[in-house]
Symmetry: C2
């Protein structure tokens, strides 16, 4: 018989998969003797069985019954007992934290009878009725999924009637009336009375937890965070501890270090005379944990020591939940605390300094994507800013965008390409799509641990919470801050690092890497095997890449030097002249004008990167990309024609543009195909490289150019270019050494890598194009047509343009690497697609033994860390990233 239920005393922290994170940690705390209210966990296996079959597995009900009996014995109470009723909490808890799921039902076990017993036993009738009121409300919300605003309305009606400002002011009799209101609401809204049988309450709550695994919010959350659907959730049933029995009671959350900065300090919030959800919900504003020291000094001391012990035990910053019942501390949860990227790195580095972990552990603690967060922009400190309001700095970074009060609207505008900032009273899991669509989030309510703060930190988006200076007027679609008004659609800026809401668009600057990051990345460099280069087309980019730690350029695109993408507009005319040339002579004239410009480019970039290698890709895009579009010209001509205006010149240009236009430019006349048909273009570029290189070499600069021929599909193409380069070498006699290699970006090149390696001194996988051709996806079209939906519906496990597709594209990359090195031992092999900056793809590159990855300068630090983690993982170390 499978064991589906385990008492806390039977488990430990390593059993997360079976018991969920919450259950495993409750067991661990129990095991090491911390004060945990007794309870038991229904395993994730039971959930998975239920998800697959729609019924409980055989034996589950009996096991729950037995565990409950044991719990009753241990507590001396009984579920539903009319004198000594056992009350329990029911909480979901998957192996990884999932805020999108059904969370908690407290006070379960109360009914019209037991509430009386509870009142008698605690000698506190108001407390008992408040518990019952809370049970019905939470049960209605998370189990029955009834609309909460009806309950809020009922509560507010009663408060108004009795003149109460806050919940604690509600007298006992009104609380009793409210319970009746709530029961009536349950009957009306669900068509069934609130279950009076505590066992039925428990069964329904367990079923609801099971079902919550596949509720839409949870599914979306898993998709967003790449969490497997096959984990399932556990259910924790635990005797209640009450933080709301009076002013010697409290409940709160705490972190062993500051989760924003990473600073070593005891950090947290609590509320006196409250239950846990009051803190998280952000309804009452909680107080800093340090104040607890004065209010309940003994309990505070116990809490502080317990937290120290937990951090030492787990070797990482802990996020804990506690309740103090009449002066007694109870630990309700502990887990590795979520933290900002900055904090993650600081904590990891500090823990090494404190001797608590080693460098390898530190490297595995930080998610590479967290490094990216640190590279987010911040507001230029020299800028004058017009601060409208200030709230809590919940997630660092700065952002600008149009004010938007509605998550659906935010999503719509985002889809139209607008930048928006979402401003809400508070956020719920239902708002996630709006947060995804926004540049940043601001809420008027809540503390540093409220939903908006946690989710925004997870997403690496700037966030301000608890900005109570602001009043939102949804009806009129505006907000007021004092006498100032900001309307929906107005552009504002937020600074998640300081909590400031600022009018207008402010100048942003890129972040620099902190001392701790530098330290961590130095450790990463020592641990990694892969080289990390950058894709850079200008000396400025090259310099930035070096600043971020790149050791070479893996892709220098010469088309930008030809004026593409708005670079060098003055060169565009010469390039067009070259393209439109009717004869070789005319083309050579234009190319002669371009050559000194190219020399200048190459001199600058080789100098900026010396003594590291620079891979220069010869011209790649189809020539028509440098000309006006067919559609634009055609409509111009049609219009002029209709109006009888002269249009000879345009018509001539249109004919040429049409002659160059292609049905599928991605598969068109570009790359080495240009080099073969118009060898004079590549010849000019090679001459420019040799001339620029020779000049630098003569000055004693240690340069290492690598000439890269793009889009080779057949070895003969490469051979022709090699011969051409050899001929120019013969003629110009450059003294420096250089390599000639190719991009592998069509499947045929990968399939015939052994042949191609005969002519190539290096390979560089252009995995963007290789993904396009291997899948037969046009990146320009696929995402908007079907690919986004494919990823959303899990037709594909990942977007293959983001994370390298190991089974398809990766198979080609592996084959080509093996075959290429078989033909030419020691062949240098790199990757220069966007995958070069994606941690999962970098791990693959390490596994198959590539020489280096190359990515955009901003992703270089990420790549350095990811490369180190890949190397450490390969050494058998297990990644236990801290903030997942």
């Amino acid at each position: 018989m499978t064991t589906y239920v385990q008492a806390f005393s039977q488990g430990n922290a390593k059993m997360k998969e079976l018991l969920g994170g919450k259950g495993a940690n409750l067991a661990e705390m129990t095991r090491i003797g911390l004060p945990v209210p007794p309870g038991f966990t229904i395993t994730t296996q039971a959930c998975l069985y239920y998800a697959a079959h729609g019924v409980h597995p055989q034996g589950l009900d009996e096991q729950v019954h037995a565990a409950l009996s044991a719990l009753e014995t241990q507590t001396g109470k009984q579920l539903g007992h009319k004198a000594l009723p056992l009350l329990v909490s029911v909480r979901s808890g998957a192996a990884v934290s999932m805020p999108g799921m059904m969370d908690t039902v407290l006070n379960l076990g109360l009914n019209d009878d037991t509430v009386q017993a509870h009142a008698a036993a605690t000698q506190n009738p108001r407390f008992a009725w408040d518990c019952y009121r809370r049970l019905i409300q939470m049960f209605s919300n998370v189990v029955l999924q009834l609309p909460m605003h009806e309950f809020e309305k009922a509560l507010n009606r009663r408060k108004a009637a009795c003149g109460a400002q806050t919940d604690p002011q509600i007298p006992t009799d009104v609380m009793q009336q409210l319970v009746n209101d709530y029961k009536q609401l349950v009957l009306e809204l669900s068509g069934k009375p609130f279950p009076q049988d505590p066992r039925a309450q428990l069964d329904e709550a367990v079923r609801a937890v099971f079902a919550s695994w596949n509720n839409p919010r949870a599914v979306v959350y898993r998709r967003l965070h790449k969490i497997s659907d096959s984990l399932g959730t556990a259910v924790n049933i635990q005797a209640m501890a009450f933080g709301n029995m009076g002013d010697d009671c409290a409940t709160g959350v705490a972190f062993t270090r500051d989760p924003n900065s990473g600073e070593k300090m005891f950090y947290g919030e609590y509320l006196l005379n409250a239950q846990g959800e009051d803190v998280v919900a952000g309804i009452r504003t909680p107080r800093p944990i340090i104040e607890l020291k004065e209010e309940l000094p003994q309990a505070y001391d116990q809490l502080f020591r317990t937290c120290e012990l937990l951090e030492a035990h787990y070797g990482d910053m802990q996020d804990i939940e506690f309740t103090i019942e009449r002066g007694h501390l109870y630990m309700l949860q502990c887990r590795v605390g979520k933290r900002t990227a900055q904090a993650a790195i600081r904590i990891a580095v500090d823990l090494v300094a404190e001797g608590k972990i080693d460098q390898t552990q530190a490297l595995l603690r930080v998610e590479p994507s967290q490094i990216e967060t640190l590279l987010h922009r911040r507001i230029d400190p020299k800028a004058k800013v017009d601060v409208v309001a200030t709230g809590l700095p919940a997630s660092p970074g700065a952002a600008c965008g149009a004010v938007c009060f509605d998550p659906d609207e935010a999503e719509k505008r985002h889809e139209r390409g607008e930048k928006v900032l979402l401003i809400r009273h508070e956020t719920t899991p239902d708002d996630i799509h709006g947060m995804v669509a926004s540049e940043g989030v601001l809420t008027t309510r809540g503390g540093m641990t409220c939903h908006a703060a946690i989710v925004a930190r997870g997403m690496g988006k700037p966030c301000i919470v608890g900005c109570s200076e602001i009043v939102i007027d949804e009806e009129n679609q505006l907000l007021r801050a004092g006498d100032r008004i900001v309307r929906a659609g107005d552009i504002v800026s937020i600074d998640g690092g300081t909590g400031r809401l600022i009018m207008g668009q402010v100048p942003l600057i890129e972040a620099q890497l902190s001392k701790e990051v530098q330290t961590l990345l130095q450790w990463a460099d020592a641990a990694k095997v892969l080289g990390v280069r950058a894709n850079a087309d200008t000396p400025a980019d090259a310099q930035r890449a070096r600043d971020f730690g790149a050791q070479g350029i893996g892709l220098c695109r010469t088309e930008h030097m030809f004026g593409q993408g708005g670079h060098h507009p003055e060169r565009m005319a010469v390039v067009q002249q070259m393209i439109l040339a009717e004869t070789l002579e005319d083309r050579l004239v234009a190319l002669a004008a371009l050559q000194p410009m190219q020399e200048l480019d190459f001199r600058g970039i080789l100098l900026a990167m010396a003594p590291y290698p620079v891979t220069i890709r010869l011209l790649d895009p189809p020539l028509h990309e440098f000309l006006p579009g067919v559609l634009e010209l055609s409509t111009d001509v049609a219009r002029a024609e209709a109006l009888g205006q002269p249009h000879e010149e345009k018509l001539r240009l249109l004919r040429k543009v049409k002659a160059l236009a292609e049905t599928n430019p991605m598969l068109g006349f570009r790359g080495v195909r240009l080099g073969v048909i118009y060898p004079e273009i590549y010849e000019m570029q090679v001459r420019a490289i040799f001339a620029a290189g020779s000049e630098l070499f003569a000055q004693g600069i240690d340069i290492h150019p690598e000439i890269m021929i793009p889009l080779v599909g057949h070895v003969r193409e490469l051979k022709l270019m090699r011969d051409m380069i050899a001929r120019i070498h013969e003629e110009m006699q450059p003294k420096f050494s250089y390599l000639v290699g190719t991009m592998i970006e069509v499947p045929r090149a990968a399939l015939t890598a052994a042949d191609i390696a005969g002519e190539a001194e290096f390979f560089s996988f252009g995995t963007n194009d290789l993904t396009q051709t291997t899948y037969g996806y046009s990146r320009d079209d696929a995402e908007s047509r079907f690919l986004s939906q494919y990823v959303a519906d899990k037709v594909l496990p990942e977007n293959p343009f983001v994370t390298l597709d190991r089974d398809g594209v990766g198979k080609l990359v592996r084959m080509a690497t093996v075959d290429g090195r078989y033909a030419r031992p020691g062949l240098k092999v790199g990757i220069c697609g966007e995958h070069g900056g994606d941690p999962a793809s970098i791990a693959f590159c390490h596994e198959i033994g590539l020489s280096y990855v190359s990515c955009s300068p901003f992703r270089v630090p990420i790549a350095r860390l990811a490369a180190a983690q890949a190397a450490l993982a390969a050494q058998g170390q297990k990644a236990t990233a801290s903030a997942v």
Copy 2:
């Protein structure tokens, strides 16, 4: 020391590679005792050495000297001897026949001294001077490459001055003067005197043969006929036999069977008192070989018997050259004779009937491409035709086109998409490009063995030669036939099977397969292992495919049923309505209207092909292909806008079309991607298949539909479609059995074939798209931009859209087949790209064990033969195709 020279008596027919075809056959004839003038061959190895190094290999000169000495001993004459001069012919001869190369120099050894001795020895001064005149002319042409028209002019001047109508009428003294004219011309045009030293003549001639291997004509010819550049040519040096010593002399060519019809008859032409080149050049019109029986009966008998012996010896129809010198027969060449496709098949089948070869040999004798020739159109026998003139029927088939007198012009017009017929006095290797560009060729001169006839037969183009009724007036760009005038650009028709030139465009009908072809293809079916199916979209196509022997449909494209390509214009409106539907409901309405139409289609095609399988591909092209183009609509709108005309409706359509337009439609939203995003479209098609199939099945028709999902790249796509089909199966409960499989047409599908085979009951390689994606070539663009030049310059060995690229695309096909069958043993695997009808690609499909090939109905017979040849080749039989 390498042997570079071999006497005829030392070689045999199997040494073609070393001795060339001509040399090997001269050796073979010598070996079996036929009357061959003695001589020796310089091997192809010497030529290749010369081509690589520009000088003779060591030892060659000595070996030539020794062989010459032996020849002098054997003949009792000496090269350059003033009393008994040895005269020789020098002929090139590669392993495969190459009309584009330097061919022959006759009478080598004559100079101002030896001509006297030759006159004295033969007691025929006119003959001797004529030989000398010919030597200088041929030497100037093929060795010195001087312009021949200057020599023609000199000849015509002398003839006019002495009143001679024909060459034989030129008296001896005028011939002497002509020799002086010629020597003067050589001096003027080449800057050097005609070489008087016979040994120097020989050296220069040998060098010229060597150099001719790489002359532009030869290079073009090899490219056209896919002949390797690394064969080299041999040089044959042979004692002269004279057909021009008087009326007891003759020279001619003969075939052991009619090379046009294949009929068993002695077939050939000869000229009395002539040298070989007179026959081939087409200057004098030669006489049918049968007349030689009366003129030189003894020699004729010997010739006839020798030919019979040769055909029996070689087991194939022979093409021979002979000379009769004073009644003695000399064999100058024999080779397997070129023949029309019709003749090739008839001869092969007849030889089996005569017991001379077996069926396997017969199958290997016919080039699959020759079958194609037989499928060329002919003139509808019921049509009334206006015959302008009649010439010799040199190559069968009929064609229509615009009259064109110039090969360059023909090429230009062809490139503009026009159909042209090339009409010339005669053709030379310089005209090949014009012949390639033309639908057919007509010459006013020459016999059945002239250049135009041979080349046109090789190309499978209709050809008429010797149409002497016609007078071409190049200056006025017209031709006259009696009192009729046909101008350049007029449309005419030719019938290469009857020799008729016909005014205007005549109705053409497709050929049917002759009895012999049917016989050969039945043998092929027995020998082949591969199945042969057809790509057919309509019942009519399906019927044609069956007539040609297809056993199933490998690709039935449903887009044509959706109105694409001008089929079913009435359906287009419904299809557009379906595409432009804003809601699922609207789309379902349109699909409901389409379903009965699809049912009708499927019923027809399943019925036409029963009991063979029909692979139905669900909708493949991107939806925008069914709508007007963006460019067309944009210019319409711009025009209307400029003129202030209403254009709301167009603008609305334009917006939708723009929304659907794609940058790279080839890699776009098509195939299964449509099926996943709009499942209702594929659902409708599946319902139509089940409905149509059920109706036929109820009537007792044995149907085997195979539902094919296109463009699958990830197994999940296929899984979703399988699930959908299973759901509809559950609902409709069709009683007949069917398969569900996929096209493999993107590299990822091939790379993950093992996964995909888990969901696919068959694979069909769409090698057109697979070639596009594997190479990264857009077929719509590549050929005109760079691919044609790539093939011409041998950057690629073949056009990969014509012949499957074994190293790249083929590697994927092989991998996918192996992996797919590993995952699903016995998986049915076919190919349905255009390669399915290409013999070289079919051979590959056989080698890797595919189940079938599928091609257009017209290529089915070709595929049947190619499949048989592949199977026989695999059995270790060597292909000795007869007509190469």
